[in-house]
């Protein structure tokens, strides 16, 4: 399912949708568009995480702030058509593609 299919042209989140249980996955084009509409000094930002397959993801709960919320200034600048290029997946699918972080700690010294 893509995001446009989820929210429809009126951009309304279905009441039975659990945003924290889902992720939004998209490619470099959408990622660039998302960053382009965020001011450098914005207090509230959507910062996608890069997945191991080269795509990007955000928790779907950012959608709860899309209308009259913290992220409205971001979503209000994004054309609705872009939503068709965003895939809605289970959050567990996103977690499976998270990169393994490099070890920041020198365990030998502790």
């Amino acid at each position: 399912m893509n995001l446009l299919e989820l929210i429809g042209p009126d951009r309304i989140l279905p009441t039975d949708f659990n945003p924290k249980a889902h992720g939004l996955v998209f490619d470099d084009t959408i990622h660039a568009a998302l960053l382009a509409v965020q001011a450098a000094d914005a207090r509230h930002r959507i910062a996608p995480i890069e997945l191991t397959d080269g795509t990007w993801a955000s928790s779907a709960d950012v959608l709860t702030e899309a209308t009259n919320g913290l992220f409205e200034p971001i979503f209000s600048q994004l054309p609705t058509e872009l939503a068709s290029q965003v895939t809605v997946v289970n959050w567990t699918d996103v977690l499976a593609l998270l990169p393994e972080p490099e070890e920041p700690l020198d365990i030998e010294n502790n």
Binding site: R43, E65, L70, P101, P104
Partner: protein, 272 residues
């Protein structure tokens, strides 16, 4: 003897006892006003009194000016209100939504994508005079979750390290940590500080542990992240819930612990 009308006298007494703003510390008043503006609604009298008591108490303890970047991530009615800085620059919110916030217990991370950029560079505070502190309402449950951290050679921060069931604290040294056993995922105040080049102090569970760890100069311009670490890239996110953070110069951790703990308890009592 100066005359004062009965009405004015009653007003003075009422305002001071109700926490309505009369007699409050100027910094507390400014913070309360900023939070209420961000919230779009007034705070409860008990919440305002708790804030004033915290600020006045920190000043009496001589630790107020050491708080250089700080947010009370609780108390406010909204997430925007919670991001109003108590000291220093406001943080930048990355991915947190209103549903992550609870007025009594604070803001919860997701362990994978949500963090605050404190907008405080780790290099800003002196190599041998710095602190970081947090109040944990729900402990991290991940293998290595970072409550707060940032930097390079002079890295400073605190981690839950679950495989050793401990809290690791780094302060002006990115290689060697000071360790508090069995404190990695516990709740309440945690803090780290140093006031000289040779000794680090880590406080958790009401106990301050000292370690002989030589400080190293910070060589990056990385900002300190909260709910994650900033070691050039953001990572090691926590899924813990935090109600307070502060970054700044060296201070007495036990005194700050007492003030923050009292503040969070007062919030719990004052918020319906």
């Amino acid at each position: 003897m100066k005359n004062i009308s009965p009405k004015r006298l009653l007003n003075n007494i009422f305002l001071k006892t109700s926490g309505g703003g009369g007699g409050f510390d100027a910094d507390a008043t400014a913070y309360i006003a900023a939070v209420e503006a961000a919230d779009g609604a007034a705070l409860e009298a008990g919440v305002k009194t708790a804030i004033n008591d915290f600020v006045v108490g920190c000043k009496a303890d001589g630790i107020w000016t050491a708080l250089k970047a700080s947010c009370i991530l609780s108390g406010a009615r909204t997430l925007s209100g919670a991001f109003v800085p108590l000291a220093g620059t406001a943080p930048t919110n990355n991915n947190f939504v209103s549903g992550d916030y609870n007025r009594k217990t604070g803001l919860v991370g997701d362990g994978s994508s949500k963090y605050l950029n404190s907008n405080r560079q780790n290099a800003t505070d002196p190599q041998n005079s710095r602190h970081q502190a947090i109040f944990v309402s729900t402990g991290d449950s991940l293998a290595t979750g970072t409550y707060i951290a940032g930097g390079g050679d002079g890295f400073t921060g605190m981690f839950n390290v679950s495989n050793s069931n401990s809290l690791w604290g780094y302060i002006s040294n990115g290689v060697t940590s000071i360790v508090a056993a069995s404190q990695g995922n516990t709740v309440a105040f945690k803090g780290i500080t140093r006031s000289n080049s040779s000794q680090a102090l880590l406080r958790s569970g009401g106990i301050t542990t000292s370690g002989s760890i030589t400080s190293v100069s910070e060589n990056t311009n990385r900002t300190v992240a909260v709910f994650a670490q900033n070691a050039g890239s953001i990572g090691f996110y926590t899924n813990g819930r935090l109600a307070f953070y502060s970054i700044g110069e060296s201070l007495d951790l036990a005194l700050l612990d007492a003030r923050v703990t009292t503040l969070i308890a007062a919030y719990a009592a004052a918020i319906p």
